[in-house]
Symmetry: C2
Subunit: 328 residues, 2 copies
């Protein structure tokens, strides 16, 4: 049986009125009381009935969006796409730049539980999956498996990894490195890595990896790139799992007098408008950022209309394309 | 005498209850009715009493921020700074990417009038100043003079223009061009241009301008840069009024075989972390983006606490610094 508001009140040790005020964010409630109420809601898996609320005209017309870092051009362009789509429909975007801050991400989920936003789009990488396991909240995920109740939208990272690797092979490379973080579970980079591995194996070529995590500083990444280029390992091609790392690699190659593409061929991943415009020589795999944004919003509207609806399909994979350029 | 809610109702031809519902965004009201009520509020210069509201605990704890383009790294970093400062204080950021859309900007001002946000930070370039002339709304402006009731935060654009020009002169340049849009009133670029003009005049050098507007496409800008470099005008130094335009200029110089800095010296303006990290050779004038963000938020809090308070000081100018690099 579905838990009731009175069950939450009993568990939290407060009145039903207080629970209602927390849920509807009405009047002053101490953070301590809020925490107790949210804990009880979570423990009982209590869900305010969103559909009923929306029929009562209590939609907030606000959507929360959680991104790991708005200053990364990929996320800036994704946010711009989502914001434009929402604005066309009269929705507003609450932006949460969660930069490794799981508390911040957590507070956004609380806002959703408290009916302060109608839904959430999350592209974050912080919280444990269990936080997202609760049923029936209107959440859509970008690029990360959260739970079988949360639709995930992603680019075709595996195919992108294949395309990038094949482009380097076609250009004559034999000793091709993958630069990225292949190990993290639920991370889209993993599929780019798998595409690389399978394509190398099909071509009968040995695979090589240089680890570079998303959250490492650009300086640390630059040093790792320099070390890779200065080592006596054979190396004539590099597939970087993101464009920004590819730019750092190109800088280091330039400083060491390694000619691109003659001595070294480089391809990135992401293909933001910014990088395509200001570094037009970089070969890359282009993610369809505008289409990703539009699909995230469309799926979220469906979850808002009926958060408990069974998902026929959990995962939506959008096509990518190869952009051939001077670096290969 | 200050207009009352009943005056607004009479002017709008509806009941006081309807006006109250519009102001408090409660229940369903048609857009037509909303427009009539807002028009009446504007005509009568009616202000809901924000101070009284905040004492009643009706703060929304949400701040609207209007930027011309979140995909421009400067604004992405400014938004990130504002969002982090607000989050530390329990505020949330509603992001409006107004990209030449004055309707969108207008709707945000309506949200402020309707108590749906506590205040607005605007860095936009669309609306006519008269929209911002109304008294007592908690608004803070970035880089644009809106009205003597709205505090403006800006970098020291004039001094930045002087520093950039003097750096080119010190590096031996004689024929220095300013690339930017010097003519638009209220635009920060104008002061960068004045700094350029005064510094050239002090050095007894002739001034030259190549017009490039903020909103032109990168392709149009690239073509203009190419034309400038290919003309038979004497030219050994360029001060670009923003870093992204400087990058386009460097690309065109590279394609034309013009050596930087030997044949041409280039300096930009903005100094985002992104450009400093991924194009570390570019000389530029660095705006203190984190400090600008913190000051915008601090001044907005003061306006929220008392929107009618007399401003001792309307304009806040933050220092910039010269970053010498390989392009000069």
């Amino acid at each position: 049986m579905r838990p009731k508001l009175t069950d939450v009140a009993e568990k939290a040790g407060c009145s039903p009125t207080t629970v209602s005020r927390v849920i509807n964010n009405h009047g002053y409630i101490s953070q301590k009381t809020k925490d107790k109420v949210f804990a009880a809601m979570r423990e009982l898996n209590y869900q305010p009935n969103t559909l009923a609320r929306s029929l009562q005209g209590k939609q907030t017309k606000m959507i929360g969006m959680i991104v790991p870092n708005i200053t990364n051009p990929f996320f800036a362009e994704l946010v711009a796409g989502v914001e434009q789509t929402l604005a066309d429909d009269g929705y507003r975007l609450l932006l949460c730049d969660a930069d490794r801050d799981s508390d911040k991400e957590h507070r956004y989920l609380q806002m959703l539980e408290a009916n302060q936003v109608d839904g959430i789009i999350t592209g974050s990488h912080n919280l444990g999956l269990e936080e997202y396991q609760r049923v029936g909240l209107p959440i859509v995920s970008f690029d990360r498996d959260l739970s079988d109740k949360v639709p995930i939208v992603t680019s075709d990272n595996y195919h992108g990894g294949c395309l990038a690797t094949q482009a380097l092979i076609d250009a004559g490379c034999q000793d091709i490195y993958f630069v990225g973080n292949p190990s993290k579970t639920g991370n889209p980079t993993t599929k780019r890595f798998l595409g690389y591995m399978d394509t190398m194996a099909s071509a009968g070529l040995p695979s090589h990896t240089a680890r570079s995590a998303f959250y490492e500083s650009p300086l640390a990444k630059s040093m790792a790139m320099r070390e890779l280029l200065q080592s006596d390992r054979k190396l004539d091609g590099v597939f970087c799992s993101d464009d920004l790392t590819a730019i750092l690699l190109l800088k280091q190659a330039q400083r060491l007098g390694i000619r691109v593409p003659e001595d070294l061929k480089v391809i990135g991943f992401d293909g933001t408008k910014l990088v395509q415009t200001y570094l037009p020589e970089l070969a890359t795999i282009v993610q369809p950022i505008g289409d990703l944004a539009a699909l995230l919003v469309k799926l979220l509207y469906e979850r808002i209309a009926d958060p408990d609806k069974h998902l026929d399909k959990n995962s939506y994979v959008m096509p990518v394309k190869l952009l051939r350029n001077q670096t290969i």
